[in-house]
């Protein structure tokens, strides 16, 4: 009872401490003109590399959907570990075959520059080999690492949702602006067309131009 009360106090105090320090959402955006590569270092072989990327809408005029962007992951040995062609956003996850510098490349096959919002996470869980090597590492650290990775996957999912939400927002804003401006333009055009009609009919009946015709 005592311990539970104390832990509850701890929880409340921590919540108050961090209630203003929130949002670990950290999806960086980069503008892709032709090829943009991001490098990230993987410390241990067998680590899970996970992440996602979303192409933020850049106000396409006619096409109903984004043409897509190509994404490839190259291992330090030079072979492609993961590749995806022509999508407007995707999640990926793979086990790193070896440690080293991995290259994550976005290729834009079209001439218009695109903005890609991406998030890459490298998760390491100490396994039995690490436990055997380092006698100070407790099995509880393995469980904590697993918990942390699970939380990271939730965070990654949230970042993906946020990026897609941003894209949706742009589409919505664009639709709203289009509705207003295009209807105003339509009304003005209508008024112009009818006044032009009136002027033309007047001209037909004016004495100087068509005296004998009508």
């Amino acid at each position: 009872m005592e311990a539970r009360h104390r832990s509850k106090n701890l929880l409340v105090s921590f919540f108050l401490l961090w209630s203003f320090l929130v949002t670990p959402i950290s999806s960086l955006s980069v503008t892709v003109n032709d090829v943009e590569c991001v490098y990230e270092y993987v410390l241990y072989e067998g680590d899970t590399v996970s992440g996602n990327y979303v192409v933020v809408d850049h106000d396409i005029f006619w096409a109903s959907d984004h043409p897509g962007i190509d994404f490839t992951v190259t291992s330090p040995a030079g072979n492609s570990v993961h590749s995806q062609k022509g999508t407007s956003g995707d999640k990926f996850e793979f086990k790193a075959p070896r440690a080293g510098m991995y290259k994550f490349c976005f290729h834009n096959p079209y001439s218009t520059p695109e903005t890609v919002s991406f998030y890459i996470h490298i998760g390491h869980i100490p396994n039995d080999h690490d436990l055997a090597k380092d006698e100070h590492l407790d099995p509880i650290n393995v469980k904590i690492a697993e918990l942390r990775e699970a939380l990271e996957s939730v965070t990654a999912e949230q970042k993906y949702l946020k990026a897609r939400d941003t894209r949706h927002r742009h589409t919505n804003e664009s639709t709203r602006k289009r509705v207003i401006y295009y209807t105003l333009a339509e009304y003005l055009l209508l008024a112009c067309a009818s006044s032009l009609q009136v002027f033309y009919i007047r001209r037909l009946f004016s004495k100087s131009i068509a005296y004998n015709r009508v």
């Binding site: 270092y41 410390l43 509880i140 904590i144 939400d165 209807t183």
Partner: protein, 218 residues
Amino acid sequence: MAGRSDERMGAVGFLALICLIACAQVGEAIWLTIPSSGTKCISEEIRSGVIVLADYYIVDDEQGHIGTSTISARVTSPYGNNLHHNENVTHGQFAFTTTEAGNYVACFWINGHRQEGVGLKIGVDWKIGVAAKDWESVAKKEKIEGVELELTKLEGAIEAIHSNLIYLKDREAEMREVSETTNARVAWFSIMSLGVCIVVSILQLWYLRIYFQKKKLI
């Protein structure tokens, strides 16, 4: 026996902390290639009241001379205010708390003349929110260590997830309102365009009638 296990837990915790800090520092950083001419910008949409901590450094000079190249960096807020500006450095860092919600842009470019087509690799360590939190000072202040510190970090992460969820929900609600007003507007404006069409044609006919009556053609 209990005392020795406590000591052991302390040692385990300290080592785990060191491992974690080492992992966190290497794992979070990404490397970018700055083109020989022009700037490379990274941006992020952040809401207000969030701590941003970033560190940038030159990693690899493809020409082979690490000492001779310098970079410049500039960070701008969504309203255009210059938050950080550094020229001719090999590494630097900046930290700020966001006051406005929007897109924060960090741009890097190479100083001096470079051979065409040869870029420069820089490492950027960009942390915001809970990830930017200084756990060492919290551990010292609260006098917690080891497993308790790990669990406290996890608790921080969970709180951040919870608040993000609420934030996403609020954004979605705003967007839903915009969608619904747009939907209502489409219906109204279409009916109104029919009304405008009828009104304009009636005005036309009325004007032409008066004109022809004046001209004594009717």
